[in-house]
């Protein structure tokens, strides 16, 4: 199988991930619960993973990083923990349902949506956010801006500098959904003015499913989603307020976090610039390769330097599900079709009925795999 659905989850993981998980299954107790060797081993590994995350994301404070089961959980914690009835929040039409649904679920909040640039379908297909509309969206009760770092449909990278200057001007909080960019693009929470960062462990970070995390800037206190066992202050009726325990009730997925630890070591060793370049070169090879094929519709910024390694297309007039099914059945190529849990951007670019076919590359894909995908497109076109 040629796996080109890495935006959903990375399938090929660094060998360090597998080794770490197997080792953890054989040697780890329950982290933060007691002081015998098995539990201390787990706690050491978990602490070191926090350090690796802090190092990756430009923070000096590992304790500000709490583990979650995925980016969706982190976003739910951020949204429910931060917003109150009467608050207004600004987000974008590029967001994933993991941002949209928690926002819709919050009672009594108002939501503003930053739209795409352009009037014609061709312009809209570029799917570039219209940052000039940010000021129009501001209201006296605006509390925060929540944005995706890169669209899971088009791969377009959000210009966080534009967002940062808007956020600083109005003294708002900035929450970033880094599900598509952690481990791929440089993220520095200090320099980029990110107050809360939500990330997935199993996509670009190449760790196991069931891992992810949330960074919460010092000075921000999020009301926890879940309370329970904490390993400290056990006689208090309230869950501890100290990070990261504040957001980590119950037993952590330490077996998964061990895998994430292995993945972070791999990323540190290779360097994310090299990882990004490798994936990006593969994406460019794919798009260049198919440019002669008939009847293909393209989505996303035609300036590829402003994208991560995601290439989304359609065959004119053909249901995206048919394309992805044929790619799998005839060519053993795995891609993602349909709505990609991003309803608003499909509505904005006009692909609601058709869906779209998304190819997303990883560091471990090869030129040969890309060339076979290109050949398949030509045969099907």
């Amino acid at each position: 199988m040629i796996y080109l659905d890495n935006a959903a989850t990375t399938m090929k993981k660094p060998s360090q991930v597998l080794d770490a998980v197997i080792e953890a299954f054989q040697n780890m107790g329950n982290a933060g619960r007691g002081a015998h060797r098995a539990t201390i081993n787990a706690s050491r590994m978990i602490y070191e993973t926090r350090e690796l995350l802090a190092n990756l994301f430009g923070s000096e404070k590992p304790e500000r990083f709490a583990f979650t089961s995925n980016a969706t959980e982190a976003l739910n914690i951020a949204i429910h923990g931060l917003l109150k009835p009467g608050d207004h929040v600004i987000t974008t039409v590029c967001e994933h349902n993991s941002v949209l649904r928690p926002l819709y679920k919050m009672d009594g909040i108002e939501i503003g949506f930053l739209p795409l640039k352009g009037d014609t379908m061709e312009e809209k297909a570029q799917a570039i956010l219209d940052y000039s509309k940010l000021e129009d969206l501001y209201q006296p009760n605006t509390k925060a801006v929540i944005v995706t770092h890169a669209s899971n449909l088009t791969g377009n990278i959000t210009d966080l500098r534009e967002i940062k200057s808007f956020v600083k001007k109005h003294n708002l909080l900035l929450i970033v959904d880094a599900a598509q960019t952690a481990g791929i693009l440089p993220i520095d929470v200090e320099k980029m003015g990110i107050d809360i960062l939500c990330f997935s462990g199993h996509k670009g970070l190449m760790g196991p499913q069931g891992t992810g995390g949330i960074y919460v800037r010092e000075g921000i206190e999020l009301a926890p989603f879940i309370v329970g066992g904490s390993g400290i202050q056990s006689y208090s009726k309230e869950h501890p307020k100290q990070m990261p325990t504040a957001l980590e009730a119950g037993t952590l997925n330490a077996h998964g976090i061990a895998g994430l630890h292995g993945a972070l070591c791999f990323i540190k060793e290779i360097g994310i610039e090299k990882i990004y370049k490798r994936e990006h070169d593969l994406m460019k090879r794919f798009l260049k390769g198919i440019q002669g094929a008939q009847g293909i519709l393209y989505y996303g910024n035609s300036d590829l330097s402003k994208r991560i390694a995601t290439a989304t297309i359609n065959f004119k007039g053909v249901d995206s599900g048919e394309v992805s099914d044929e790619l799998m059945e005839e060519y053993q190529i795995a891609v993602r079709s349909g709505a990609h849990c991003a309803p608003l951007i499909h509505e904005a670019i006009g692909t609601k009925e058709q869906g779209a076919v998304r190819f997303s590359m990883s560091y471990f894909n090869t030129e040969e795999e890309i060339d076979r995908a290109v050949a398949a497109i030509y045969e099907m076109a």
Binding site: G321, D325, E353, G355
Partner: protein, 78 residues
């Protein structure tokens, strides 16, 4: 693109029901396979079961016996 053929398409209440169908049919060598839900049925994603039209009655009996909760059964070209 490959040629479309007339098929029976069964949509389900959830992916879990689709997987229940998949498991039972695989174990008992029953006809058909999972496909992405055709857009004509819904834009909302999900999995459907596709088989030849003549297999429709047999599959209906199986779903009733196994309490697999289906949504709709269509005959269409996919």
């Amino acid at each position: 693109m490959r040629k479309k053929i007339e098929s029976v398409i069964i949509s389900f209440e959830s992916t879990t029901q689709a997987m229940k169908m998949d498991k039972f049919c695989m174990e008992h060598h029953l006809p058909g396979r999972l496909i992405p839900v055709p857009r004509e049925i819904t834009a909302g994603c999900g999995l459907a079961w596709k088989a030849l039209p003549e297999e429709k009655e047999q599959l209906k009996v199986v779903m009733e016996e196994q309490q697999i909760i289906w949504q709709e059964i269509y005959i269409m070209k996919v």
